[in-house]
Amino acid sequence: MEHIGYGAISYDFAHVLGGTMLLLSFALLSQRRITSTIDTYAMQAVALAVAACWQGWVQNEPSLYLTGAIAFGAKAVVIPLMLKRSVKKLNLHDAREQALSIFTAMALGVALVALSIMVVLPTTVEAGALTREDLALALSVVLLGLLMMITRRTAFTQVIGFMSLENGLILAAVGVAGMPLVVELSVAVLVLVGFVVFGVFLRRMRVHFHSLDTAHLDRVGSAQR
């Protein structure tokens, strides 16, 4: 593998795509309305798909194109549409959405990104610049996804946090050159995400809870048991 440093087109483009996914993760953190959250997630999925195809081209690994296509098809198109339809049908409103104020969420996000960079870069000192960069960005997207799940009250937005975390995973898997089974893994991850969305649908339809606030659910199982 020839040395890919600054200035090589393949590194620059991957770096840009990774950066956009990170930015979109930050955007997700700061969204107030559910529909805009879904759109941001879709854009992040598109960025992921492009990054996967780009990695496919760089590592001339045909299976990565397939991963990119799946990512685009399912995560950028199908899932956002299903989410939008259910939002319209159940006229979800955005009351009391944020558990933490936007500012503290962003501050925590920055801290997490700093942590992941501080952790990944020294540990991957021998690996190539591309993989180091890619891993750091992927770890940041994963941690931001986790942060999103923690800072949101409603189950719906937690699911979106979970899905952005999955995007970070696929980004990491794609970034590593020559990793086998990437396609199978991305399919499995897709199944996992699908079940999450399906789970959210199922629960709301059957059990008609008034609000999606998971705190309401938790009172059901509190200390007296």
């Binding site: 952790v119 540990t123 949101r152 938790d218 200390a223």
Partner: protein, 669 residues
């Protein structure tokens, strides 16, 4: 020869552990008969073994931890304790045959209980010792909760099994500390522990097996457990189980924790012994039912044995061979004596519980007229409990006091002051025991019956009678020939303190040293007999024979009410009133005894009442605070479990971030 004896014992144990329980599950009486025969043969084998000078023998058994075999062995020390367990086991099994038609549902646990005690004594490697100890706890737990419908029995069961788990864990830790290079006792003896490890092992031995024996501060489980269990089982627990726990304590501290211990090792044992003797004897005077009184007196007697062991250990540390063997002899003689008369007392309490229908003092009285054999046997055992001269209790207490006298020679003013305090405590404990014995016999057996059941009490069935008479014979023999029992304990003393008293023992009695004071029970008995004969002759010559019956001087009490034809119990001293002076003198400080008088206001027709509240100091100062702290931590941990999904994920992130920081820190270095 000893190898064949050991194989015989292992066979007896195997039958007790596996065959007898199945038989007892089918037909309880057959099971108890089998257990009795096993114990009897075991006792005979033991006597032959001790007569032949108790040479050590070893045997490897295929079962064990992770595929390796376990080593079983017998030496002087385990031989002596096995003799006691076998005798107590045969008495209890015989007594259990007297089940009046409906045997106890947990019958199979009795042979398992005796078998596991044998395993504990025969064990020669860490795993067998620990398994025997824990199996003994489980089997006795099953027996304690025989009448599990009664809420008090359930509470006693919970406390009992909790403390049993604690003492088991302590024993596992102590034995693990001693066995870094090999689990068998031989390997442990080969590599004695360092000083610090030694002290930790001593601490664990006192808190684990020590609590199982009934030493303060972890003795609280003993009275409720003995009161809950059926009487023959309480006899086994008090007579044999506490002694097996003492055996484990002795084996750990004297034998396995290395030969040369410092003089100071004996002090914790002496301190706990003093506390147990005082607390046990005082509580024995305050409790309201027979079996709890006997259980508290077990705590006292275990305390006396601990004092003897403590002095022996200190003397061994200071190389005073004569004193250490005297003190060890006192401890072993008292263990055997107590094993004998306490078993007898519990069997008698079982007879009373069935014969008179209750074991609470407020419902007994005047049983000596209706149950002559039980009363006679109880008089003999009560005398021994009180430590009156011709009985075994007196012989061991005499030896114990002589070793306390000898303890002055351990040197150092502090030690001498301790030995004076020890002397005072010993005397106080013996006097309290005497008061408890008089109270037990006086209230339960003598005076007028306090309930219909006591008025129509009937004697125990033949098997229980035979069990009591055989045990009584044992107690009398040990009382009259303590020298012979000390001779049996010779090999055990050799194991413990590397010296024995064989040169200072005669058949009639024994002495503390070649020219020291001696005690010969036979001589005392002869003196008493001569005096009785002399008085009898004078009475025959001068006095008018026979006597006339007449009403007792009741100082103006009215006739008893119609529903109490046997006489108004209130016109007679009850157990609480007998203990009232002692409660006021010693009880208020030690047991926090408070008397609450409830006087009705003028015009009210309800009777005035006096109620007494007492709490065992170990309960109020140790168990209650521990329960509160555990409750605090439980509520604390509950807050960590019932959290929302969001908080759970926050925890996960915190762990992840923490570990990442840890990695980052490692990277910088």
């Amino acid at each position: 020869m000893s190898a064949t004896l050991l194989q015989g014992l292992v066979l007896v144990m195997a039958i007790q552990l596996f065959a007898a329980p199945l038989l007892a599950a089918r037909a309880p009486r057959l099971g108890f008969m089998a257990s009795f025969l096993c114990c009897a043969t075991g006792a005979i084998i033991q006597l032959i073994y001790l007569f032949s000078g108790a040479p050590t023998a070893e045997l490897v058994v295929p079962f064990g931890l992770a595929g390796q075999g376990t080593v079983l062995s017998i030496d002087g020390l385990s031989g002596l304790f096995l003799l006691l367990v076998m005798l107590a086991g045969s008495a209890a099994s015989l007594a259990l045959l007297d089940d009046h038609g409906h045997p106890i549902p947990t019958a199979p646990a009795v042979p398992v209980f005796i078998g596991s005690m044998m395993l504990c004594l025969l064990a020669a490697d860490a795993f067998a010792l620990v398994v025997g100890f824990e199996a003994m706890s489980v089997a006795s737990f099953i027996l304690v909760i025989t009448q599990h419908r009664d809420v008090q029995v359930q509470a006693a069961g919970r406390l009992y099994i909790g403390m049993a788990v604690w003492s088991g864990l302590c024993l596992i830790a102590a034995v693990a500390l001693l066995a870094p290079h090999g689990a068998s006792f031989a390997a442990m003896r080969a590599s004695p522990p360092s000083a610090v490890v030694g002290w930790v092992v001593l601490g664990l031995a006192l808190l684990g097996p020590g609590s199982k024996a009934g030493l303060v501060p972890l003795h609280i489980w003993l009275p409720p457990a003995h009161a809950a269990a059926p009487a023959p089982v309480s006899a086994l627990m008090s007579g044999a189980m506490t002694k097996v726990a003492l055996y484990v304590l002795i084996r750990l501290v004297f034998d396995l924790a290395g030969p040369a211990q410092a003089l100071w090792w004996g002090l914790p044992l002496i301190a706990l012994g003093i506390a147990s003797a005082l607390l046990g004897a005082l509580r024995a005077n305050m409790e309201g039912d027979i079996k709890t009184v006997l259980a508290c007196s077990t705590i006292e007697n275990v305390g006396l044995v601990a004092i003897g062991l403590g002095i022996a250990l200190a003397a061994r540390g200071a190389d005073l061979a004569a004193l250490s063997s005297l003190a060890a002899g006192a401890a072993l003689l008292h263990t055997m004596a107590h094993g004998g008369f306490k078993t007898l007392l519990f069997l008698a309490s079982g007879a009373i519980q069935y014969g008179a229908g209750s074991r609470s003092f407020n419902a007994l009285g005047g049983l000596i007229k209706r149950m002559p054999i039980t009363a006679g046997v109880m008089l003999l055992a009560g005398a021994s409990l009180a430590g009156l001269p011709p009985t075994p209790g007196f012989a061991s207490e005499w030896m114990l006091f002589q070793s306390v006298l000898g303890a002055v020679r351990l040197g150092g003013l502090a030690l001498q002051v301790i030995s004076v305090v020890l002397a005072a405590t010993l005397a106080l404990a013996t006097a309290l025991a005497a008061a408890a014995a008089v109270r037990l016999i006086g209230v339960a057996l003598l005076g007028r019956p306090r309930s219909q059941g006591a008025a129509e009490a009937h004697e125990a069935g033949p098997p229980l009678r035979w069990a009591m008479l055989l045990s009584a014979l044992g107690v009398v023999l040990v009382g009259l020939f303590p020298g012979v029992m000390l001779w049996f304990a010779g090999p055990a003393m050799a194991v413990i303190v590397h010296g024995n008293m064989q040169d200072r023992i005669g058949y009639l009695g024994f002495a503390t040293a070649a020219d020291g004071p001696g005690y010969a029970p036979i001589f005392v008995l002869v003196l008493m007999a001569l005096a009785v004969v002399a008085i009898w002759m004078v009475l025959q010559a001068r006095a008018v024979p026979g006597h006339r019956a007449g009403p007792l001087w009741d100082c103006g009490f009215g006739a008893p009410p119609s529903w109490q034809p046997y006489g108004d119990p209130l016109a007679q001293y009850s157990a609480t009133s007998f203990a009232q002076p002692l409660r006021r003198v010693l009880g208020t400080t030690l047991l926090g005894a408070r008397e609450v008088v409830d006087m009705p206001r003028p015009g009210e027709i309800r009777p005035a009442s006096i109620s007494v509240r007492m709490a065992d100091p170990a309960d109020s100062w140790l168990l209650a605070p521990l329960a509160r702290t555990r409750e605090f931590f439980s509520r604390l941990t509950d807050r960590l479990h019932f959290i929302t999904v969001r908080q759970a994920l926050t925890l996960m992130v915190l762990v992840l971030v923490g570990l990442l920081l840890f990695i980052a820190a490692v990277e910088q270095l």
